[in-house]
């Protein structure tokens, strides 16, 4: 990125890049667990996307200052993963409490996948990647927003495709998860076509 480009352009480009060209699920293969696990119905899939987006953005919002203003001055940047996991786990607890309060049905639909956002590598991957590659605060937020948008779009599309697949005459051996993985592979190939535009 050259220095004469205004920051807002860089910011928007970074978001688009993280959303499509460098998509978190289909290009970097993070967060496959909830991607396959919760994508069989459209509404829970969309909510899962929103929950992951919330956790990702807030985790980056908290982790970047924590790393640069606490861990680095104290001389212990190697503790980053532990601290990030601590922050992410608390955020997931918080999201869990809110969802349980306002939508018990959704809480049921998520089941075990809600606490599993804690170990969703998309969330940790973004927080870790931001500080590891020494991005500025603005760019790491762009990265977080782009990644969550990418996850949200892809899990939503996947759920739409899978809900149509239910009505199709799929060979018995491919019913359920196997055909979902094949669909994910085809989607991934489609996105690879965009690769390289970002750089």
């Amino acid at each position: 990125m050259n220095a004469t480009v205004p920051f807002i352009v860089t910011f928007l480009l970074a978001i688009v890049n993280a959303t499509l060209m460098d998509n978190v699920v289909l290009i970097r293969f993070y967060g496959i667990c909830s991607f396959v696990g919760v994508s069989n119905k459209v509404k829970p899939a969309f909510s899962m996307g929103v929950a992951v987006a919330f956790v990702t953005i807030f985790a980056s919002l908290v982790c970047w200052p924590l790393y640069n203003f606490v861990l680095v001055p104290a001389g212990i940047p190697f503790m980053d993963t532990v601290v990030y996991i601590l922050v992410i786990a608390s955020l997931v607890q918080l999201v869990g409490l809110v969802i349980k309060k306002y939508s018990p049905a959704l809480y049921k639909a998520f089941g075990i996948y809600l606490p599993l956002i804690t170990t969703n590598c998309a969330v940790l991957g973004v927080a870790q990647g931001n500080t590891d590659s020494g991005l500025s605060f603005g760019l790491s937020m762009a990265q977080a927003i782009g990644t969550s948008a990418g996850f949200l779009i892809i899990i939503f599309l996947m759920a739409c495709i899978r809900s149509r697949l239910d009505a199709m005459n799929v060979p018995k051996a491919f019913k359920g998860i196997p055909i979902a993985l094949i669909v994910a592979g085809i989607m991934s190939i489609a996105l690879i076509g965009l690769g390289g535009i970002g750089s």
């Binding site: 104290a74 212990i76 503790m79 601590l86 922050v87 608390s90 607890q93 918080l94 409490l97 018990p104």
Partner: protein, 108 residues
């Protein structure tokens, strides 16, 4: 000098842990959900191994299933013993009907 980093790491982690813990305590007060008190009671009577062998995420999930009548058999819990856990749960569920006066008594 190197040893000091261990101390710093420890102190910072403790501090972050305490701050996040306090935030979560307040959040759980604010977003408290009124639940059937029987779920807590049944959860206490289960072995508490949280092994997941019943197919629920943890003992609390099974307790919810037992109270709502979704789970009919206590032996869904693989580690529980008849005299130590299941008999107690059956007794309790007999003695505590739900709001409409219905009882969901699980069998063994």
């Amino acid at each position: 000098m190197g040893y000091l980093y261990i101390l710093y790491g420890f102190l910072i982690l403790v501090a972050i842990g305490i701050i996040l813990g306090v935030v979560l305590v307040f959040a759980s007060k604010k977003f408290k959900v009124e639940e059937d008190p029987r779920i807590d009671a049944v959860e206490k009577m289960l072995p508490g191994a949280n092994c997941g062998a019943c197919g629920f995420p943890g003992c609390r999930g099974l307790a919810e299933g037992l109270v709502s009548g979704e789970v009919k058999k206590c032996s869904t819990c693989k580690v529980g013993k008849k005299d130590k856990h299941f008999d107690l749960i059956i007794e309790y569920m007999k003695a505590h009907p739900d709001k409409d006066g219905k009882t969901n008594v699980p069998t063994l």
